[in-house]
Amino acid sequence: MSTLSLASLTTRLRASAVYRSIIRHGAADTNRNRSLVIFENLFLHVHPVKVREKTLRFSHTYWLGGITLAACLILILTGILLMFYYHPSVPQAYRDMKELQFVVDNGVFYRNLHRWAAHLMVLGAMLHMLRVFYHRAYRPPRQFNWVVGVVLLLITLLLSYTGYLLPWDQLAFWGVSVGTNMAKEAPLIGKPLRFLLLGGNIVSENALLRFYVLHCVVLPAVMLLFLSVHIWRIRKDGGVQGPPEDGTDEEVEP
C-alpha cells in the first residue's frame, strides 16, 4: 500500500475520469500542457499561448486596462448583491439605503465597495486612455480599438452617472438634475432626449426606474459587448503595445 500524501492524492485526482472530463490536460509541468491551459479554457483563451517577454514589464502598460477591468468585475459582483435589496421606487429606494446601512449584514460594506470601485473604474479608464495616447499605441493596426475604447469610456461615464441617481438622496437627485439640465441645451434633440431619459420633464420616480433599468441591464449589456470586442482585438492586433521603440519596424532582406 502506497503512503498517503498530498502529492499522491493530487496525482490520483488528476488521473481520475471525472477530472479528465473537465480539465483535459495534465499538470502544467510541460510546455505542451502550459499551452493547453490557455487554449483549452474558455476564459483564458483570449490570451495567446506565448507572449512577448517585455510586455510583462510594469512600465509597459502600468496595468491600467487590467485595473479598470478588475474594478468592472468587482462592480458586477457587488452590483448583483445590492440588487437583491434594492427597489427602484420612491421613497423605498432611499429606505433601502438605510436598510443596507443598519439592517443588512455587510450591506454598508458592499455599497462602499461598489461606490469606490465605480470611482476607480472611471479614473482607471481615463488613465488607461492617456497611457495609450502617450505610448502612441493607437497607431495602426490598433486605430479601431482606440475608437472602441472611447465608446467604452463613454459607457463607463453613463454607467457611473445612472448609478449616481439610485440612492435617491439629495446628492443623487440634484447631481442628476444638474446634468440632465445641461442635456436640455442641445439644439433640437436636447429636450426630447431629456424627456425620453427621465420619462417626464423633471427627475421623478419614472426617471429612477429608467436609470435603474439602464444601469442594471442596458448599459452593462452594451458594455460587455464592446468590452469583448476591445479585449479580443488586443490579441488580434498583436498584443498589448507599450512605449514606442526605435527600429522595430526595420525590415531587412536576408
Partner: protein
C-alpha cells in the same frame, strides 16, 4: 553535399523560458523580408496569468480596505423643493459644470464635450498623430508662427469669457513649447522637452485644463458657484 540530412523529429521542450525556433522553407525565386530583431517570448501560463491574478488581488485588497475605512456618501431623502447650494454633479462632470460658469449652456454642455469626443475618436486617423516628429524638428519659423497664432487665438477667445482657468494653462503650455526650442542647459528634462511631439503638447494642454477645471469645480466652488477656499467649504467637498 554527401551527408544525408537527419530526419526531422518532434522534440518536446519543458523549459518555460525557451524560445521555439520557427523553420521556414523559402523558394529561391522569392525575396522575403525579415525583422532584424527577434523578441523573447515566454509562456502565457504561468508568466502572464500569475501577474494578472496578483494585479486583481491587489485591486480587491485595496478597494476592500478603502470600503472598510470610508463610507459612501448618503445625504437626506431627495427633496425637489429644497435645492442645495451649490448643487454639484459627480466629480468627472465638475469640469463641465465649471465651464457652465463661463459659457452659455449650449457651449459648455453640448459643443465643448461634443468636440472633445470627436477629437478623441479621430486621433488614430489623423495623419499628424501617425507621423509627427519632435515639435521643433521641421521649419522653425513656421512652428513659431503657428504656436503664437494658435495660443494667441485661444487666449483672446477665453479671455473674452474671462475664463482664466483656461487662459493661464494655455499660456504656460505655450511657454513650455517655446522652452523646448533648444536643449538649454542640457539637463535631462530640457532634453526630454525637445522630443515632445505636437499631438503630445495638445493632449497635455487638454489634460492640464480638464484637471484644473475639475479641481476648481470640486474644491473651490461654494454657494452660488462663488470661489471659496476648500477649508471654508460647507458642506465639505
Amino acid at each position: 553535399m554527401s551527408q544525408t540530412p537527419q530526419p526531422l523529429a518532434p522534440v518536446e521542450c519543458n523549459d518555460p523560458m525557451a524560445l521555439p525556433r520557427r523553420v521556414a522553407l523559402v523558394r529561391p525565386d522569392t525575396r522575403p523580408t525579415l525583422r532584424r530583431r527577434e523578441e523573447r517570448m515566454v509562456m502565457t501560463f504561468p508568466h502572464l496569468i500569475i501577474r494578472e491574478v496578483i494585479m486583481f488581488q491587489v485591486v480587491v485588497i485595496a478597494l476592500v480596505l478603502i470600503a472598510l475605512l470610508f463610507n459612501a456618501p448618503l445625504e437626506g431623502l431627495a427633496n425637489p423643493l429644497e435645492t442645495p447650494n451649490p448643487s454639484k454633479a459627480p466629480w468627472y462632470f465638475l469640469g463641465l459644470q465649471e465651464l457652465l460658469h463661463y459659457f452659455p449652456p449650449v457651449v459648455a454642455g453640448v459643443v465643448i464635450p461634443g468636440l472633445v469626443v470627436v477629437a478623441l475618436v479621430v486621433i488614430p486617423y489623423a495623419r499628424i498623430n501617425l507621423v509627427a516628429g519632435p515639435l521643433w524638428s521641421g521649419d522653425r519659423k513656421r512652428v513659431t508662427n503657428a504656436i503664437a497664432a494658435a495660443s494667441g487665438l485661444l487666449v483672446v477667445l477665453f479671455s473674452a469669457f474671462q475664463c482664466w482657468a483656461i487662459v493661464v494653462p494655455t499660456l504656460l503650455v505655450a511657454a513650455a513649447m517655446f522652452l523646448a526650442r533648444s536643449e538649454g542647459d542640457g539637463r535631462p528634462f530640457r532634453r526630454f522637452l525637445t522630443l515632445v511631439t505636437l499631438p503630445e503638447w495638445i493632449m497635455t494642454w487638454f489634460v492640464v485644463v480638464a484637471a484644473l477645471l475639475t479641481i476648481i469645480g470640486t474644491f473651490f466652488r461654494g454657494p452660488g458657484w462663488s470661489l471659496v477656499w476648500p477649508w471654508n467649504m460647507y458642506p465639505p467637498a
